[in-house]
């Protein structure tokens, strides 16, 4: 076993309580961060679900030949921003109105509602600017009488989304900052507990790199372990939410999980590096 690994393992064995405290602190710091991340993820997911419903409805002038409408719908479907363009006949429009709106339940005259082309946009093109641009383009088609897409509603939705995004970044940074400070302080305790050993190492000619390496390994190991414990706790919290609040929570995907645990290891690495370098500078 290399001296670095042996030294790191021995240090953890010699002070098991301090090691456990470090891992627990890292785990809880990352748990708080992960919980916040989970809330942010679910808010984003909810807003995405709402954004998926963004739809442009282009009403067709009465007596337009259905072949022309279908040709136009096919043309619209080829726009880069467009996911689908579906022709809704007057009968289908009435059927939908009777299904969705109570006041149409006893209306049976098909011609009362106009036919339309219902356009859905691809993800990334559902913002107010793109929606307005597609609507304006559709409006230029000769037999299109009117185009509606809930302009104000989309603007509100995107304001909310931007607000949630900015709040998420600011709070995420704050949580990450607090986690870094707590983890740094915890690792500093580990360094101070071995201050005597470090000073003796310096006296017998150890380089700063040699002294630093076991601490870095220790930091990475504790960060990894803390990250995995935090993940387990976050998963358990999500399960509790689902079971008791009947809330269908979105959990982190595999990429996020790997990123989170690697983030824990990096926090441990940088926290250790910072704490031990600061200590060595004073020697």
């Amino acid at each position: 076993m290399s001296i670095v690994v042996r030294d790191a393992v021995n240090a953890a064995r010699r002070s098991p309580l301090l090691s456990a405290l470090s891992v627990t602190t890292i785990a809880f710091s990352l748990f708080a961060f992960a919980l916040f991340g989970l809330v942010a993820l679910n808010i984003r997911q909810a807003l995405e679900d709402v954004a998926e419903r963004v739809e442009i409805r282009a009403f067709v002038t009465e007596n337009t030949r259905i072949e022309s409408v279908v040709t136009a719908a096919n043309e619209i479907a080829r726009y880069a921003e467009v996911l689908s363009a579906r022709v809704v006949s007057q009968e289908q429009a009435l059927e939908r109105a009777r299904r969705e709106l109570g006041e149409f339940s006893d209306v049976f005259e098909a011609g009362i509602l106009p036919a339309s082309i219902d356009i859905r946009l691809r993800p990334g093109f559902r913002d107010p600017r793109n929606v307005a641009a597609v609507a304006a383009r559709v409006r230029t088609i000769e037999f299109i009488d009117d185009v509606r897409y809930g302009e104000e509603w989309i603007a509100q939705l995107y304001r909310l989304r931007n607000l949630a995004g900015v709040t998420g970044i600011v709070m995420g940074l704050a949580f990450a900052g607090v986690a870094v400070i707590i983890i740094g302080a915890t690792i500093r305790m580990t360094v101070l507990a071995r201050a005597r050993e470090i000073s003796i190492m310096k006296l017998v000619g150890a380089t700063d790199g040699f002294i630093r390496r076991p601490f870095l390994l220790d930091g990475v190991a504790k960060g990894l372990l803390g990250g995995m414990i935090a993940l387990l706790m976050t998963w358990a919290a999500a399960q509790v939410l689902e079971r008791y609040l009947r809330f269908d929570a979105t959990f982190f995907d595999e990429r996020m999980i790997v990123f989170g645990i690697a983030g824990g290891a990096l926090l441990g690495l940088f926290g250790s590096s910072f704490a031990v370098s600061r200590h060595l500078r004073k020697l």
């Binding site: 010699r14 003796i200 006296l203 000619g205 150890a206």
Partner: protein
């Protein structure tokens, strides 16, 4: 530069601390290869400061310290680490790791220098035999007497074959018998060619030898002399 190898050289060294003021004032001396010199003087005279400057734990405020060709004027942290592998440093309080055995403490000094693992065992055994502690190699510091602990510290200092042993009150915590025994060990080490620079309060020890004596007072060297051979009563 080659003529300074294996030597300690102080050129007009002054050391000032922001709070406590001048610790050393314009100190110059040279310790030759294989020489034994005592640093004597009352507490606060500057003995420990000289030793700290010699192993680059401190840097001079003015002047220059040169040790085995390494100058305080342009020394780097890496130079200091490399130099300390060729110095042996011993303290009054032993500075042993309590959770390692005697051989573990000695091996520690080799491990940190990246010595090959197959060489560590034989070298540790050799120095523990040299200091008379081969039989207690598995003992922890808490199981050893003060004199024995100091022997372990000396073994640790010797294991890298230093050109000089820097000892800061090495007998300060020991009874008379242990003092004599540790001091004899230092003399034996010196006789085998390693220079020794030893700070001590023990004037009895100093008077009974004909080694060079550098007397300090208030940060200055007040005398630097080597008694004529035969002018002292050797330690029994």
């Amino acid at each position: 530069m080659a003529d300074t190898l294996g030597m300690i050289h102080f050129f007009g060294v002054t050391k000032e601390y922001p709070r406590s003021g001048v610790a050393l004032a314009d100190v110059s001396f040279r310790l030759a290869k294989g020489e034994f010199a005592f640093l004597t003087g009352a507490s606060g005279a500057g003995k420990s400061t000289i030793l700290k400057l010699a192993y680059f734990d401190e840097t001079p405020t003015r002047g220059e310290v040169r040790v085995s060709g390494v100058s305080s004027k342009d020394v780097t942290r890496r130079d200091i680490a490399q130099l300390r592998r060729r110095l042996g440093i011993v303290f009054q309080d032993f500075r042993l790791l309590d959770d390692r055995t005697a051989e573990g403490n000695v091996a520690f000094a080799l491990e940190v220098t990246g010595a090959r693992s197959d060489q560590i065992g034989p070298r540790v055994n050799r120095v523990l035999t040299q200091v008379g502690l081969a039989a207690k190699s598995k003992a922890f510091p808490g199981e050893l007497s003060g004199g024995e602990q100091q022997r372990v510290a000396i073994a640790r200092a010797l294991v890298n074959d230093p050109f000089v042993l820097i000892a800061d009150e090495p007998t300060g915590n020991l009874d008379d018998k242990a003092t004599r025994s540790v001091f004899q060990l230092l003399r034996d080490i010196n006789a085998s060619g390693t220079a020794v620079l030893m700070a001590t309060h023990n004037l009895e020890l100093v008077r009974r030898t004909d080694y060079r004596r550098i007397q300090m007072d208030h940060g200055r060297i007040t005398s630097d002399a080597t008694p004529a051979r035969g002018a002292v009563a050797e330690l029994s």
